[in-house]
């Protein structure tokens, strides 16, 4: 995974740019790239995804909490692109490594790391009090690493793990425009998750490395959200959603406040 990290970042940068720009429909045209408004704020997000890591027979959960600083750029005709960066806490409880000399099971506190994100909303159609938009979002969390001592063995040992994940979502949003300053919406998104966790184990002169991957775990989410303009300068954005899967449901939550310049 280390080797591929640079590549992943490159792909993500392209993906973010693609989400930010590519989603803007034809009506945004070239003129859409002119920034007409700017807002910045803080967001808290929490998301959980039940995944089956490649090679596993049982599922486990990836649960992440993100605190990010976000800048939102308005490009005219309602096209908004948000870029965010911040800290991430990701919990991999239940993840097991069975190809190492000594099997390891992850039951440690969440791993600290960083995250980068991009989000875009572009209005497509307006029908009376309803507006249909296209939305896209990508979040990349990286830089999560930790070392644990392996105790109780005849020789000294340690385990070192590092991880990253990326989630992308794409789908339509239906907003209800009736309330003016308060904009409730319903969003249905297709979500894609990729994750990797490399664990290196050293026990005396016995060593092994195992990389667990989730490649392209697809899911759908149904999200209810609201964008509320509290004052001319301050806006609050909140949304919560579910990601149903066979045998359970995952969730996502986002809450943030923005200051408009």
């Amino acid at each position: 995974m280390r080797d591929g990290r640079g590549g992943i970042r490159g792909v993500l940068a392209s993906l973010a740019l693609g989400v930010a720009i590519g989603l803007a429909p034809a009506q945004a045209s070239v003129a859409g790239l002119k920034v007409e408004s700017l807002a910045a704020g803080l967001f808290y997000e929490n998301l959980s995804r039940t995944v089956v890591w490649k090679g596993d027979t049982a599922s486990s959960k990836i649960q992440a909490s993100l605190i990010t600083a976000r800048a939102e750029l308005g490009f005219g005709k309602g096209v908004v692109v948000g870029l965010s960066a911040g800290l991430a806490l990701t919990d991999f409880k239940g993840l097991t490594f069975t190809s190492l000399p000594v099997n390891l099971q992850y039951d440690a506190p969440p791993l600290k790391g960083f995250c980068l994100g991009a989000e875009a909303v572009a209005p497509l159609v307006k029908l009376s009090e309803f507006e249909i938009s296209g939305t896209g979002r990508v979040v990349y969390s990286f830089g999560m690493s930790k070392t644990w001592p392996l105790e109780g063995f005849a020789v000294e040992g340690k385990a070192a793990g590092n991880s990253s994940w990326v989630e992308a979502a794409l789908g339509p949003r239906v907003s209800y425009l009736f309330f003016g300053r308060v904009l409730p919406y319903l969003e249905v998104s297709a979500r894609w998750l990729g994750a990797g966790f490399e664990m290196t184990e050293t026990l005396g002169d016995l060593a092994g490395t195992e990389t667990k991957r989730v490649r392209g775990d697809f899911s759908f989410s149904v999200t209810l959200g609201v964008d509320a303009t509290v004052t001319d300068r301050v806006a609050i954005k909140a949304r919560g959603g579910i990601l149903p899967f066979a045998g359970g449901v995952d969730s996502l939550l986002s809450l943030g406040v923005l200051y408009k310049f």
Partner: protein, 457 residues
């Protein structure tokens, strides 16, 4: 060109080969006589036993998601402790009498991790722990497992071998087999070669476990039937038919046995037969080769055979010897290619007969080990089992563990399997000899540590 003196030396070496380790220290007749009472009709009929075991294994949470256990410092008053816990707003607090531990239900929406972090910040609290999930360990229904196989799971108490042999055992002085069996019981594709006196191929504990009738290098035929009892006993320890409601449990439940006979009817053999046997076993798919025998003299050809098997991907395990002296037998002493096994007892002490030296890698139980024996050997009216002692009995425990590791980690190299077995052992004689030593090596093998996941916290 071989000089006359070289030829003489080689001839003398060949003549002096005594497979002392292979025959164990116990006389089969003693346990045979005692077994009649020890495992006789007083036992509950196996058919009457019922073992409930879960059919589906889900990856359940490691601990209760809404409960933690807390203990206050000794100087904290009980009333104060009760009040303090309630002041946190926990919906339910229960004191477990006797040890002053509280079971606390976490507040709604607050995780166990958050609750523990909060409690650990309080200076009055000595310990705050998750309420870990427990489960039934896999216990085979073989009737002698519970009371006689201390080597696999030692619950403490008296080991009732005979009226005059009733040693007190120490709970936990065992190879931690049951929790390891939750991880794996081995696969039928994993083959343990028993390079020994042959195997009783009609024994109910072994008949379904044999890959083939093996090869007899003493008589040069394809019938490795046991003429003694030793190989049958060793094979049963490693991989007796288990959970079949009969007799004993083997270390590697589902692995199969390849009998290789390298002794004559007296139980003696020559290095050439052992060399042939090891190479034949390696060529016939053995993943693990157990050699519970050996000689006092080094021999480069024997070492070459061990290297051949090692390089072919077989883990070679051998008995250290039963002379109680500073001389590990060959092939056990070939450190690079063979795991040398010393014998421990029911109290996790090294047996006084166990030979020692820098070549010893690990120890395993080798005192009063109950395992199969040929019916013709024990005689009519006796059960076909006997208690045997020796490093010969210790080695197949390690061979069984190696087979289990091989079953679940087929890509692990032979060297890595050998290291894994060494490094996961319990340092049972650390008081007198901390760390690796010449008596127990790295320690008595610990199957659970070798096979069950280590929990990263």
């Amino acid at each position: 060109m071989t000089t006359p003196s070289g030829r003489i030396a080689r001839a003398v070496t060949a003549l002096l080969i005594v497979l002392c380790a292979g025959l164990g220290t116990s006389d089969g007749s003693l346990p045979r006589r005692q077994l009649k009472k020890a495992v006789g009709p007083s036992l509950r009929p196996p058919a009457g036993l019922r073992v409930e075991r879960p059919r589906i294994r889900r990856r359940a949470p490691l601990y209760a998601p809404d409960r933690v256990l807390v203990r206050f410092r000794p100087d904290v008053d009980e009333t104060y402790a009760d009040g303090l816990l309630r002041s946190y707003g926990f919906p339910a607090v229960r004191r477990i009498p006797g040890i002053g531990v509280y079971s606390v239900r976490t507040a709604a929406g607050v995780s166990v991790t958050e609750t523990l972090a909060m409690l650990r910040r309080n200076g009055d609290i000595e310990l705050a722990r998750p309420d870990y999930r427990a489960r039934l360990a896999d216990v085979p229904n073989d009737p002698y497992f519970l009371n006689y196989q201390y080597n696999l799971r030692n619950r403490g108490g008296i080991l009732d071998i005979s009226p005059d042999i009733q040693p007190q055992t120490t709970a936990g002085a065992d190879i931690k087999a049951t929790t390891a069996w939750d991880v794996t019981k081995g696969g039928a594709e994993t083959i343990i070669a028993i390079v020994d006196t042959g195997v009783d191929m009609t024994h109910p504990e072994l008949v379904s476990k044999l890959v083939s009738s093996g090869h007899d290098f003493a008589n040069n035929d394809d019938d490795a039937t046991d003429d003694v009892w030793h190989g049958t006993h060793v094979a049963g320890i490693a991989a007796a038919d288990t959970n079949n409601a009969v007799g004993i449990a083997g270390v590697a439940w589902n692995c199969r046995i390849l009998p290789v006979k390298v002794t004559d009817a007296t139980g003696d053999g020559f290095y050439s037969w052992i060399i042939d046997g090891i190479i034949w076993a390696a060529d016939h798919g053995a993943d693990v080769i157990n050699v519970s025998l050996g000689g006092n003299y080094p021999d480069p050809f024997l070492e070459d055979a061990c290297k051949y098997a090692h390089d072919k991907g077989a883990v070679v395990v051998a008995a250290a010897g039963n002379d109680g002296i500073a001389l590990v037998l060959y092939p056990a002493a070939y450190d690079a290619y063979v795991l040398a096994v010393a014998a421990s007892d029911y109290n996790d002490e090294i047996a006084d007969f166990s030979s020692f030296g820098p070549e010893v890698d690990v120890a395993a139980p080798g005192v009063w080990i109950l395992a199969p024996a040929p019916q013709w050997y024990v005689g009519d009216g006796f059960l076909p089992y006997l208690f045997g002692s020796g490093t010969s009995m210790a080695a197949p425990h390690v061979a069984g563990l190696a087979a289990l590791i091989k079953s679940v980690k087929p890509d692990l190299s032979v060297d890595d399997i050998m290291k894994l077995i060494r490094y996961t052992a319990d340092d049972i004689n650390r008081t007198a000899h901390p760390g690796r030593d010449d008596y127990a090596g790295y320690g008595r093998i610990n199957m659970t540590r070798a096979l069950a996941p280590y929990i990263l916290k």
